[in-house]
């Protein structure tokens, strides 16, 4: 479903009749109507390019003065105090760690489960079930993120807090699982799990699309050589869909990195100056949730600039992740054609 993932594997492949759409220039007549309409279409395209460039340029323009005024290193500091415009001290290290930690946990869960669900839908499910099953998983994408947020905080976290306490008690000797003293269970780990649920439909939708395209000759060939169903999936379906799964994971990662309101609601914020830990049982703030938590207080340009700088880093981060996803997809297209 391109509406879930925003990307189509079918892009730039020939149409259903195995031919490319009729060439642009040959068919125009050069009359006024054609020139106007073609111009409007081209204009819309250029408008989109302008829009994205404007987003980047604007964020940069507003963020740079604040970064220049920053009294500590923007990239390596953990401080964040922006109330005093003459003594701005803000750095993104902690935000970066929390953002990456929650997204990584989300991916570690969402990718295997999403791929398994996609395999179920395309390979295992009875024909009558596969379409409704796909629609059901897509419904997860229809739940607004704020609903994930309040459900996560009020229903999901209380249920799983005992499990979390157990993990803390048994694995606490390992830095990643040490007790960071967060009560109520609103930790990085819990947010990661909720994010996994939120991005699951993205992983599933795209993986499903590529698995369904596995050439029948490959699958039947494997089966004819005596492979079991699982062996057939391992030697035929998974290698064929590998690039698709990687790009699905990247797109989902992009979504997880930028998720705002669910993270803001669930994750406990830390008091300024609290000790650094590597623990996934800690609280914290991601780029997006730091911005959202302070959205009510954007009053002076210097202060707003600090948050815009955080937004800029997030923009760059998602830009890179998405660009990698596209490159993988492009390569795969070249490979298929």
């Amino acid at each position: 479903m391109s509406s879930v993932t925003g990307v189509s594997i079918a892009d730039e492949l020939p149409g259903p009749d195995r031919r490319h759409t009729l060439g642009g220039d040959g068919a125009g007549t050069g009359r006024l109507g054609d020139r106007l309409f073609g111009g409007a279409a081209k204009g819309a395209g250029i408008f989109v390019i302008g829009l994205v460039s404007l987003v980047g340029a604007f964020l940069l323009w507003q963020a740079l003065p604040a970064i220049a005024d920053d009294k500590v290193n923007f990239l390596t500091s953990r401080e964040w105090s922006v109330d005093n415009a003459s003594n701005l001290r803000f750095g993104i290290l902690e935000l970066l760690w929390t953002t990456i930690a929650v997204s990584t946990i989300g991916m570690l869960i969402a990718v295997p489960v999403g791929v398994a669900v996609a395999l179920f839908i395309t390979q295992y499910a009875p024909t009558w079930l596969s379409r409704p099953a796909a629609n059901l998983v897509d419904l997860l994408a229809a739940v607004p993120s704020i609903v994930y947020g309040i459900w996560g905080l009020k229903t999901f976290v209380p249920v799983f807090d005992p499990v979390q306490s157990f993990l803390k008690d048994t694995l606490g000797w390992f830095p990643l699982f040490s007790d960071a003293g967060i009560s109520g269970g609103s930790t990085i780990l819990m947010v990661g799990i909720v994010l996994a649920i939120m991005v699951l439909p993205i992983v599933t939708a795209l993986s499903r699309e590529v698995f369904a395209q596995t050439p029948v000759t490959h699958t039947e060939g494997a089966l004819a050589l005596g492979a079991t169903k699982w062996e057939m999936i391992r030697v035929a379906v998974l290698p064929f869909g590998k690039a698709g799964v990687i790009s699905a994971a990247m797109l989902a990662l992009g979504r997880a990195l930028g998720e705002t309101i669910a993270v803001t609601i669930i994750l406990s914020t830390l008091a300024a100056g609290s000790d650094w830990t590597w623990s996934v049982f800690n609280g914290g703030e991601t780029f997006a949730s730091r911005i959202a938590n302070n959205a009510g207080e954007f009053d002076s340009p210097a202060k707003t600039g600090a948050f815009i700088a955080a937004g800029l880093v997030l923009f760059v981060l998602t830009f890179v992740v998405n660009a990698i996803a596209r490159i993988v997809i492009e390569r795969r297209k070249a490979f298929i054609e």
Binding site: S3, G6, S8, D11, G15, R19, T21, L22, G24, A27, G28, T29, R31, G33, D34, A40, A41, K42, A44, G45, I46, V48, I49, L51, L59, Q62, V113, A116, V117, I121, Y124, A125, N135, V137, L140, A142, V143, P144, I146, V147, I150, W151, L153, L257, G258, T260, I261, I265, A288, I291, A292, A295, G296, F298, P301, T304, I308, G311, L314, R326
Partner: protein, 268 residues
């Protein structure tokens, strides 16, 4: 594999069950659909969500009115006209736009609307941020639908001497029409559930507001956000009821989109 599928269904059913069981009873009360929250404190029961429902619908429709022409024209450019580097660049930018986090879209509009132009935070600014999120969805789905239109139809029109723009408007677009509507509805479903840009650009208010250009405009997501930290029961109930209303609205759009897609898909 069955296990993974059932595991994926657990959260879906769990969320739906939580929201329906905690907020469902308020929706059965007719004042939920006719009253606003004006003058109602967290302690008091009663009041409705009509102010927030209206706000969400008004902002959604305005966003669609701006995004659809841009999105559809961009898709037409990509499928019918675009060749070479410019088309590649447009396609890449649409991909990037798809990945822009909603909070960044909100920040950008804040930087433009409030910091640079010095305007107030109003409903229209929210719409502009939502346009950024809706355009790529419309472009991608329209593009896919236009590609499904058989070339024979275009060739037949050209053979009759119909100019290219008329071919697109009178032949290609009508053929792909239902698919385009589906894409628009799915895009609308995505932006209506967005909260992050509203946190920055659209503060909540308790009374009905229909003016996009002045004053605060309440929406369902901000209504949920407003009371989510409340512990008094009437307010908690209203949070879940607003969540259920929002889910129903979005499910309805999704279902409508899928039904239209099923009924009117391009015949091969």
């Amino acid at each position: 594999m069955w296990g993974a599928f059932l595991l994926a269904l657990v959260p879906l059913l769990w969320i739906l069950w939580t929201v329906v069981s905690k907020g469902g009873h308020l929706l059965l009360d007719s004042q939920w659909w006719t009253n606003s929250q004006k003058g109602i404190t967290a302690r008091r029961e009663g009041g409705g969500a009509i102010h927030a429902i209206q706000g969400t619908l008004i902002q959604g429709l305005t966003t669609a009115v701006i995004s659809v022409p841009i999105g559809v024209m961009t898709a037409i450019y990509l499928v019918e006209y675009g060749r070479g580097r410019l088309a590649k660049a447009v396609s890449f930018m649409v991909d990037i736009l798809t990945g822009v986090p909603s909070i960044v879209a909100g920040l950008f509009i804040y930087a433009l609307w409030v910091t640079t132009f010095g305007f107030q935070r109003v409903g229209f600014a929210v719409c502009l941020a939502l346009v950024l999120l809706m355009v790529p969805v419309v472009v991608r789905s329209t593009e896919e639908m236009l590609k499904l239109v058989p070339n024979e139809l275009r060739e037949a029109a050209y053979a009759l001497g119909v100019p290219k723009w008329k071919t697109i408007v009178k032949v290609v677009l009508p053929t792909a029409f239902s698919g385009i509507i589906t894409g628009v509805l799915l895009g609308l479903a995505r932006v209506m559930g967005e909260t992050a840009p509203l946190l920055i650009l659209g503060p909540y208010s308790k009374s009905i507001a229909t003016d996009l250009f002045s004053g605060l405009m309440p929406t369902l997501p901000t209504m949920i956000n407003q009371d989510r930290t409340e512990s008094l029961q009437p307010a908690v109930d209203r949070v879940w009821a607003a969540a259920l209303t929002l889910i129903l609205l979005i499910l309805l759009l999704n279902l409508a989109g899928r039904v239209i897609a099923r009924l009117g898909s391009v015949k091969k």
